[in-house]
Symmetry: C2
Subunit: 440 residues, 2 copies
Amino acid sequence: MDASDLVFATADEHRAWLEQQARLPRGFSVGTASFAFTPVEVPLPARMTLSLIVCDRPTSDFAAVFTRNAFPGAPVRIGRERLHEPDLAAVVVNNKISNVCANDGIAAAERICATTAHLLGFTARQVLPASTGVIGWRLPVADMEAALPEAVATLQDRSALPAANGIMTTDLYPKVRGVDLPGGGRVVGIAKGAGMIEPNLATMLVYILTDCAIGREQLREQLRAAVAESFNAISIDSDQSTSDSVVAIASGRCPCPDQAAFAAALGRVCRQLAGDVVRNGEGVHHVIRCTVTGAPDTACARGTAKAVINSPLVKTAIAGNDPNVGRLIMAVGKHLGDHHGELEPTRCSIRLGPETVFADGTFRFDSGTDARLQAYLGAAQLYQSASPGTDGVFRPPISHPPHERCVEIAVDLDAGPARFTALGGDLTHEYISENADYRS
Amino acid sequence: MDASDLVFATADEHRAWLEQQARLPRGFSVGTASFAFTPVEVPLPARMTLSLIVCDRPTSDFAAVFTRNAFPGAPVRIGRERLHEPDLAAVVVNNKISNVCANDGIAAAERICATTAHLLGFTARQVLPASTGVIGWRLPVADMEAALPEAVATLQDRSALPAANGIMTTDLYPKVRGVDLPGGGRVVGIAKGAGMIEPNLATMLVYILTDCAIGREQLREQLRAAVAESFNAISIDSDQSTSDSVVAIASGRCPCPDQAAFAAALGRVCRQLAGDVVRNGEGVHHVIRCTVTGAPDTACARGTAKAVINSPLVKTAIAGNDPNVGRLIMAVGKHLGDHHGELEPTRCSIRLGPETVFADGTFRFDSGTDARLQAYLGAAQLYQSASPGTDGVFRPPISHPPHERCVEIAVDLDAGPARFTALGGDLTHEYISENADYRS
């Protein structure tokens, strides 16, 4: 993930920056519509937003990567089929209900596609559906169809921001990243996702739009590569959603002689959005970036890095600004002991921020180190918990990311050439409140 | 894990029951000593308890199973060597500091063994050390040596309870289980451990004492088998300690003609203690028992059951008494999608308590189901959170387990003969407070 010195003093500053990032590439427009409805399963008032991403004309150049969960949502099952279609013209996304394992879920999603296509003058198979939210509930198809004309009426070709807002569920703020290519052309991505995030994607929807003329096969290959080192390298809570999708669409309106420059821009947008998803992860106070080097192979490097960022005890220690090196050792040792008994653990060294805290089989640690690392962890904190309300619920007191600093953990196994960087978040009262104190 | 209707209305009732359980088999005595000291690494006042378990005479019949963590504590490394010794006569355990990866950790532990042996008239190699607590700090060897005579002076042969109390760290209450064999003889086990608990053991120390005449090799074989289906089937937070040890010692004072009866008693004590460890897990409001049947092999059954009990989103939903079937599906699907792509997920059915909530690829769920399952989850709750103190820290409002009810989750994969039952806990504000709000 790219380092960054971005600092946003206020929500207004962040919003102004988002608007810059969100400028749409040529050939795309975006519209949304929100409405109230009552779910069949839990008959309490709810609200849904429909977001449309529309191409000026159908394009053959689109790519998508989906969750590996064995119970994929209906839109994911349809999306896998759409990959075989000759072209794509629009994406229709709803939040609030994820349409996973619901009765007649496929028929419901196809119905929404058909209505969308009819309004836009395309065919249903040129429309890709997506849903995110509660698992198991059924889509309010009639309410959605009634709202679609409004979404079409709001289509505009300037900003992706309305869609970045529209696809949010428990996200605190929209996530948008844009990159201009040196030779012309632009790549813009939007993402939602805050919990149930782990590799192979997670309640995460990502849409990447470009006007660069990039062929279907190249786009698919480059998307796979970009996802491997971005969205598949993050974890909020090790859980993997049934709906995750990363979709890229190229309108072809701008020549793209330099494929490597496009790949770099795509990779950058994916890495930045992946960082944004973790930074806005449910209850995340600290983003944790663990880089494992010196591994015998990539699987070992990835597994070790994941063991660190997924360890509840490491995550809670960092949440408390506690440089608890013992828990780092425990997490690394748990993975190595289970999977790499042949490695010599005393060759391992570990750095936390600027300090080497473990080497030659023993801790490098005194009360001075402790104070310095507490300060380092404090400086990387995105926010401190506010007092819970009278209902005992902890609510994040921020509506924008104040900075992009990470807690850096570097593990050198000194046993080979492979490396991997994984990005995760800490574990806090806000995560518990979000997921236990009320139904999400 | 054995079902149980045990209910304890008051802490006094629980204590009286513990005292019954704790009656020592013949041939053992137990003593403890507590003292104040100041750790070198973080110079704040601390308290340590030393616990001694002493055999009347050295016995060749002892067994031990240790953590698989690649960074085992010094006592674990010494313990592995002690398994090759001809006999064992005593165990010396300290809490507060785990003596893992500390400078001169082996020498410190051996010094404590030597002093203990000297006081008791044994050799150092007849003494097994153990330490639990903060990782990385050094043992206060001089303070411990000064306290050992008091521990020896308090030795008594009636109750294991002082040691069950003495080895606790963040445990809320001591854990003791005793079983009398039909033909005479007794098996008593004590356990500590509340966090960093996952299979292959975890900041967990278990000592099982018996007066049954059971040979060294049989004892070792039976202990391995008992651990596989008890301590290796539990997880509080998927983290694995660097210090976990399960030790069994037989004094041989009582003939044991029925080896099967002994194995059954040993298995029962292990399963009950494993249940106790989860029930007293850090912040646990609900014990979750997930049984996977119909798996093609045991690894698949174990992996699926573990995916369910380790899923933060399942754990937080259950903490909130929320029968969130979507998250169950997600957790099962995450494991199957990653490891068993060949299985047909629509054959899977899932029960939560008394209700089938998923079958034939769709949810079986309405608002009536929801209300019934909320009541079921509420009845299995051990306690509700008390309001946090003015310091914002959540403290468990109980000092004994009110009952032994579990939340039962049954997953039938309908794809083979294998099964596995895993036991875990939910994830609550008290876990966060224990691990993030202050240093433990």
